[in-house]
């Protein structure tokens, strides 16, 4: 290996690492706020990339119908719960309409816009608008009822959700792979390296999002409310923070970051309905660097995972995944000696 190859591999690793960093941050966020180990994170990546791919083909993606169905089920469940609690029917109805308004509007726009093949940027925004609300809906339908269950039960729920979303991905997108067009086709050369516009976009968007997240948590009331919920759920509740609202918000952010990662990664690799899972898990391995608790450690871990992956695929391409996922063992070993006994009581 010479310097040229090494620098190309490094660039490649850091680029993928930037995506894994987004996913790792979302993983840490969701775990901190809801104690959910969010395995289905990767499905949002696939949904993001493939929803855009179908919009490119001028089709209405199945995720639109999923959004509509989930929103309706959630509203019906809400309405039933409201009526049981003895709320007046009119209040229940307006509540249901309110929570249905956004999903229905998004679906209508998607249905109208899909055959018209509008510009890529518009389709990307539409994709985000379709996939992001799936996050809070997944929280409400799968997790909310079990919000006080153990981490273990929530983890099993996550795995069930992952199963369902992957299977639905197959229904929506079929077994074929898609590669999205690049957002920016320019190329720049810097010594031995060729930077594509897409690479630059990945870096810029990742950094911008990390900064935005930082500002959100440091400067806004909602961000602080999320942090408070992460530190102490009961305490946050006593301060008037809705833990359910916090859960939905964190899932919404996770879905948004997942879909965005999907948009970013879509032009650089061929995406299949189940590709998201492995990508999400790499974000997970990165999050474990920070024991699912530290944002900076998770981000650094993500870059490290990206580098291991790119160098691993150079030396032993068939064993790329084996290398990345076996990495978790020494990392866990290192964490367990650093932190010693962590225990949670039920």
């Amino acid at each position: 290996m010479d310097f040229t190859i090494a620098s190309i591999l490094t660039l490649d690793g850091v680029t993928n690492g930037a995506i894994y960093a987004l996913l790792a941050l979302a993983t840490v966020l969701v775990f901190a706020v809801t104690r959910v180990i969010f395995i289905p994170q990767g499905e949002f990546v696939a949904y993001g990339a493939l929803t855009l791919a179908l919009l490119q083909l001028g089709q209405v993606p199945g995720t639109v119908w999923l959004l509509l169905v989930m929103a309706v089920v959630a509203s019906v469940l809400d309405a039933v719960a409201g009526l049981r609690r003895g709320l007046p029917a009119a209040a229940v109805a307006t509540g249901a309409l309110k929570s249905l308004a956004f999903p229905v509007a998004v679906c209508a726009v998607a249905w109208w816009a899909a055959p018209r093949q509008l510009p890529l940027l518009f389709q990307s925004l539409l994709t985000l608008a379709i996939v992001t609300p799936l996050g809070p809906l997944v929280y409400r339908l799968a997790y909310e009822k079990l919000a006080d269950a153990t981490v273990l039960v929530l983890l099993i729920v996550s795995v069930g959700t992952h199963f369902a979303l992957t299977g639905l991905g197959l229904v929506f997108f079929g077994a074929e792979g898609f590669r999205n067009p690049s957002f920016w086709d320019s190329r720049f050369t810097a010594g031995p390296l060729t930077l594509t516009g897409q690479t630059l976009i990945i870096f810029m968007v990742s950094i911008a999002l990390i900064v935005a997240l930082y500002l959100f948590f440091e400067r806004t009331l909602r961000g602080k409310a999320l942090r408070a919920t992460a530190v102490n759920r009961l305490g946050a509740r006593l301060m008037g923070i809705s833990t359910s609202g916090a859960g939905q918000l964190s899932f919404g952010l996770a879905a948004f970051m997942g879909a965005l990662s999907g948009l970013l990664i879509g032009p650089t690799t061929t995406m299949f309905y189940d590709s998201g899972f492995l990508i999400g898990l790499k974000g997970f391995v990165a999050a474990i660097f920070g024991a699912l608790a530290s944002y900076p450690a998770a981000a650094l871990g993500a870059v490290f995972v990206g580098l291991i992956e790119s160098f691993g695929s150079f030396w032993a391409s068939a064993f790329k995944e084996v290398i990345v996922f076996t990495l978790i063992i020494p990392v866990l070993l290192w964490r367990s000696f650093q932190h010693g006994h962590h225990d949670e009581e039920e």
């Binding site: 799968a142 959700t161 369902a164 995944e321 996922f325 932190h339 962590h342």
Partner: protein
């Protein structure tokens, strides 16, 4: 009712034995064989998830280890299957030990995460090794020969398989009804209580994980010789998740639930694979949508699975009392009355900048009750945790009969004769009162997994249960020993905890608010028991808010406030102290 349950069980075993003899279609036998293979794995998961409160998504990978070891060794080296099984078990043992050892020191969710990575890694590894045929796998594995009989048909293979399934099921049931089984269940609710009973929780968790992995490996060995071909796909992560699904849907806390779950999932899978592609118009593994949604719904609405409904109809029979003539357990030699048993010397605990216990010193003597009182937040419970090894002291010494114990883990302190109760009752609600108390005597027994499965532990088990009953009689709860602990009111739960502490035969008894939630009569009975223990020479440290009880019972009182020892003296001296009044009632200005 008891007969009923037994009859159902006998009927089930007979049905299993007779199935291949009946003129059922070959397809049924094949299905039953798959169900048996899955059941073996699911039984392991019941031990791991339902009992020990851990979980693994990587069981399919252990199945793969067993299958590939068998396939490779028989095909390329002509090794007999009866030898390859041991090689497979050895590999699996090593892999599970490593995974468990690395992850189980940390919170419970790191093990399942590691098993996800492990499941994925092994899948890609198997699919990329030339010697293992890459993704095509290995073909033409010979059938198992059993004393010259080739088990090459579904029906002949069925017998070996289901014999092993039933052995595994009865072995697991025996294990659960033993000293180790009780300790395993104690691990589920968090480690503090189990460690206080002297259980090495880390070791036990690793044991549970290794056992589950070994069962999966046996299933894999059978799988290779049943299918006669192996490839990586049945050992991927999805299958690992499916195994967990079987355990959850059947009832993750029940051994028979594993078989029910395996049956339901296999039959359902068959139907869905038949119907869904027709519905969708294309082929694909659409059944995972239904499985995923079902898994979430089961957890939301019927977390105990299908077997819980069976259990409700045919409740477990009351344990037969067969330990009446068992010899008593050996008794610890108690220190002479008046000797200093516990010496807390300048103990200090800081949480960051907060000094929770500020250089506190006191002594407890044999045959003496020391009351530790103080307003809420005075540091009493933290002091308790320093003495019992739940928290490490920042500074200072804790001596038990002159030996330093401040740096020892809870279980070693327990082994030296310190027993405790908890401010918030920590018990296993799904075990009977008797079993909960027997957990207290954990350190007075020695039998492990193997002797439980082989039932070589029965003599010791009787002695442990006899001791548990004796302590319940002492505390006045013998008539409730067969009730589920979770059905007790708070008062009796606290009394049960005291009986559990006494079952450890301690020289020092630490009681954290034992009278909270007790009725007057129960309090009086408790005071009588404590007086009797004192007269027998036990040293007792009592944290309590009920002043009537404390002042009428204890020999000396230590008063704490804001982490500092305020005063120590006889009850009369303390009651007369203006400083104590100020601490409790505030000062007049």
């Amino acid at each position: 009712m008891k007969m009923m349950r037994r009859n159902v069980l006998i009927a089930f075993v007979l049905l299993v034995a007779a199935l291949p003899l009946l003129p059922v279609p070959e397809f049924w036998i094949t299905q039953a064989n798959y169900i048996g293979l899955y059941s073996l794995v699911a039984i392991g998961l019941v031990l791991l998830t339902g009992v020990a409160g851990l979980t693994s998504f990587g069981q399919a990978a252990f199945v793969g280890m067993g299958a590939y070891t068998a396939a490779y060794l028989t095909l390329t080296h002509g090794v007999s299957p009866w030898l390859t099984i041991w090689v497979g078990l050895a590999f699996t043992f090593g892999a599970a030990l490593l995974l468990g050892w690395v992850t189980l020191r940390m919170s419970g969710h790191f093990l399942p995460l590691a098993t996800i990575a492990w499941g994925l890694s092994l899948y890609y590894l198997l699919g990329n090794i030339d010697a293992l045929g890459k993704y095509d796998g290995l073909l033409g594995i010979p059938a198992i020969e059993f004393f010259g009989i080739s088990l090459n048909t579904g029906r002949s293979f069925y017998y070996l398989l289901w014999l092993l399934v039933l052995l595994a099921a009865f072995g697991a049931i025996r294990l659960l009804d033993s000293r180790t089984g009780r300790a395993l269940r104690a691990v589920k609710g968090g480690t503090t209580m189990a460690e206080a009973m002297g259980v090495n929780t880390f070791r036990l968790k690793v044991t549970a994980f290794v056992l589950a992995a070994l069962l999966a490996c046996v299933s894999g060995w059978l799988f290779a010789h049943f299918q006669r071909t192996v490839n990586p796909s049945p050992f991927g992560l999805n299958k690992g998740i499916e195994y967990l699904f079987m355990a959850v849907i059947g009832g993750v806390g029940h051994v028979w639930g594993a078989i029910v779950g395996a049956t339901v999932v296999k039959v359902l899978e068959e139907q869905l694979q038949d119907w869904l592609p027709r519905l969708m118009g294309t082929s694909g593994n659409y059944e995972i949508i239904v499985f995923g949604i079902l898994l979430v719904l089961v957890l939301q609405y019927a977390r105990d699975g299908i077997w819980a409904f069976v259990e409700a109809r045919f409740p477990k029979p009351q344990r037969a009392v067969d330990w009446g003539d068992a010899p008593a357990l050996p008794h610890r030699e108690q220190p002479p009355k008046g000797e200093v048993v516990l010496d807390v010397d300048q103990a200090r605990k800081e949480f960051g900048g907060l000094v929770a216990v500020n250089d506190v010193s006191f002594q407890v003597r044999a045959g003496q009750i020391l009351g530790l009182i103080g307003p809420n937040g005075a540091g009493k419970s933290t002091t308790f945790n320093l003495v019992t090894g739940v928290l490490p002291a920042t500074r200072g010494k804790v001596l038990l009969r002159g030996q330093p114990i401040q740096s020892l883990p809870s279980r070693e302190i327990a082994a030296r004769g310190v027993a405790r109760t908890f401010q918030h009752v920590k018990m296993i609600p799904t075990m009977t009162v008797l079993e909960n108390v027997a957990l207290g005597a954990h350190l007075r027994g020695a039998s492990g997994v193997a002797s439980a499965v082989l039932r070589l532990d029965r003599a010791e088990e009787k002695r442990l249960l006899r001791e548990a009953q004796r302590q319940l009689e002492r505390i006045g709860m013998a008539d409730r020993m067969h009730e589920l602990a979770g059905n007790l009111a708070l008062g009796p739960q606290r009394l049960m905890e005291i009986a559990r502490a006494l079952a450890a035969d301690p020289m020092l008894l630490l009681l954290d608010e034992p009278a909270a939630g007790l009725r007057l009569k129960e309090k009086q009975a408790l005071a009588d028991v404590l007086r009797q223990l004192r007269s027998e020479g036990m040293a007792i440290l009592l944290v309590e808010h009920d002043m009537d009880l404390v002042m009428g019972l204890v020999d000396r009182v230590v008063v704490m406030e804001f982490g500092t020892k305020l005063i120590e003296g006889t009850p009369e001296e303390v009651q007369a102290s203006p400083a104590v009044r100020a601490a409790y009632l505030g000062t007049e200005h």
